[in-house]
């Protein structure tokens, strides 16, 4: 009785939400990295990690432990405050983005009426963190990576927002729970297949993953914006990347794959199955395609994705008006 009483207070809710988000975050950081290594291994006819735990399941935990134990090195000539702050600037937005994700009909930290807007505006903050890291490192490779990251981010925000707008037009709402409820009969991937593809491509570009990984292109820029980072600070960048991958997939699930809708299994399970299916596709894309050149990347965005998203928006509006 006392326990449920505590849950209803504001503080109780905050504590529960933070705990829940941290659990999902930790679980994902361990599983997503393991999945990435396993899938990449099998695509290259290797096995991936096998030694730590059954089929290498604990490999990420072991790596994390190693990174925690390492000394945090601050190179000479860096802007110390910015250098120390940057990883958290990348990391905290991804935690904040968890707030609006509807894991099930009841499991949602806060069902904001502008949930969709909140999600995509918070995701932009991470870019500032990346630029801070690149600038503070006082290293030409880091700066180059950061500059590229900004250019890429600005370019790919536009097709993402345009592709999502058609969903908003269909549901007449920015509230994520309503968007999920609108898909109880038909997932939006059926009428909105093109935006789904545009969203997925742009999301991969937003994540700075291959084939759009020019901000951290290792053959050109060493490691891009996190060249000078080591130990736990590097781990934070790394975890933020995989958390963002989860979040982007979760958003794709919510918007296009019907969120937690699904028969037999509980909604949360459906949500995670769909999300990790998208994560699989993102990893699969990474291990299939080579990196794009920066000019190809910009061409692809401005000459193909943006016009296509605009045309789709136009067609959606037109059809909706006719019906």
């Amino acid at each position: 009785m006392e326990f449920t009483g505590l849950l209803n207070t504001f503080l109780g809710k905050v504590i529960l939400s933070v705990a829940g988000v941290m659990i999902v975050f930790t679980f994902n950081a361990l599983i997503a990295v393991w999945l990435e290594r396993k899938i990449s291994g099998h695509i290259q006819l290797r096995l991936g990690p096998m030694e730590v735990g059954p089929h290498g399941l604990l490999q990420s935990a072991a790596d994390g432990l190693k990174l925690i134990c390492k000394e945090i090195i601050t190179p000479q000539g860096v802007d110390k405050k910015l250098f120390a702050m940057a990883p958290y600037m990348v990391f905290f937005p991804s935690l904040l983005m968890f707030i609006v994700i509807p894991f099930s009909d009841k499991l949602q930290v806060q069902d904001l009426n502008i949930g969709l807007l909140y999600f995509f505006s918070i995701s932009c903050i991470a870019t500032i963190g990346i630029f801070m890291a690149g600038w503070a490192s006082n290293n030409k490779y880091s700066l180059m990576g950061a500059v590229r990251s900004i250019a890429q981010s600005i370019a790919y925000e536009i097709p993402i927002i345009l592709s999502i707008l058609s969903i908003v037009i269909l549901t007449q709402s920015l509230r994520l729970s309503e968007i999920v409820k609108a898909q109880s009969n038909m997932w939006f991937i059926v009428p909105q297949f093109v935006p789904f593809i545009i969203y997925l491509i742009s999301a991969i570009a937003e994540l700075n993953r291959t084939p759009f990984d020019i901000p951290e292109a290792e053959s050109e820029l060493v490691a891009g914006f996190h060249t000078e980072y080591s130990g736990m600070r590097f781990a934070i960048f790394f975890m933020a990347e995989y958390t963002n991958m989860f979040l982007v997939s979760a958003m794709a699930t919510t918007l296009f794959l019907g969120g937690w809708n699904g028969p037999v299994l509980p909604p949360v399970v459906w949500f995670f199955i769909k999300t990790y299916a998208i994560v699989f596709v993102i990893i699969w894309v990474r291990w299939t395609f080579p990196r794009l050149r920066p000019d190809q990347l910009m061409n692809f965005c401005w000459k193909f994705l943006t016009p296509l998203a605009l045309i789709n928006l136009l067609v959606t509006t037109f059809i909706l008006k006719l019906l």
């Binding site: 099998h42 695509i43 290797r46 096995l47 395609f289």
Partner: protein, 147 residues
Amino acid sequence: MKASYFEKVGIGIKTVIKGMKKSLAYFFKKPVTLQYPHQKKVIAERYRGSIRLTINPETGKHKCIACTNCEKICPAFAITLKIETPEGSKKKELKEYYVDLGKCIYCGLCVDSCPVDAIEHSKVYEVAERSKENLILRLDTIGEKNV
């Protein structure tokens, strides 16, 4: 002729699908990895591993007649024999047989040159040691490493 915008888009979509199919096909193939310390490769029948003395099943001892052919023919000077002639006998006898695996080039000339087939190749290939001295093996005593 340069491809038009729409042709380029078509080619792009086609190649993307082709690539994704290919990598997915590989994802479901059987991995070729051999997990070395746990799994070991099957060694070929005529594999030239480190040499050892063959045992005569009747006497339970080695067959060596101390002719030193192997010592003479070894191009890497890896084999050293210590030979004694016991008093009251004209026959030479093998006392100590050393092979330095650090020098051995696994050419097999010693095995070929032996008139009584007293040496042969084993299938041992994990001969790494922590010091150079440990690579020198004495083959004629019990407790040989590479049997």
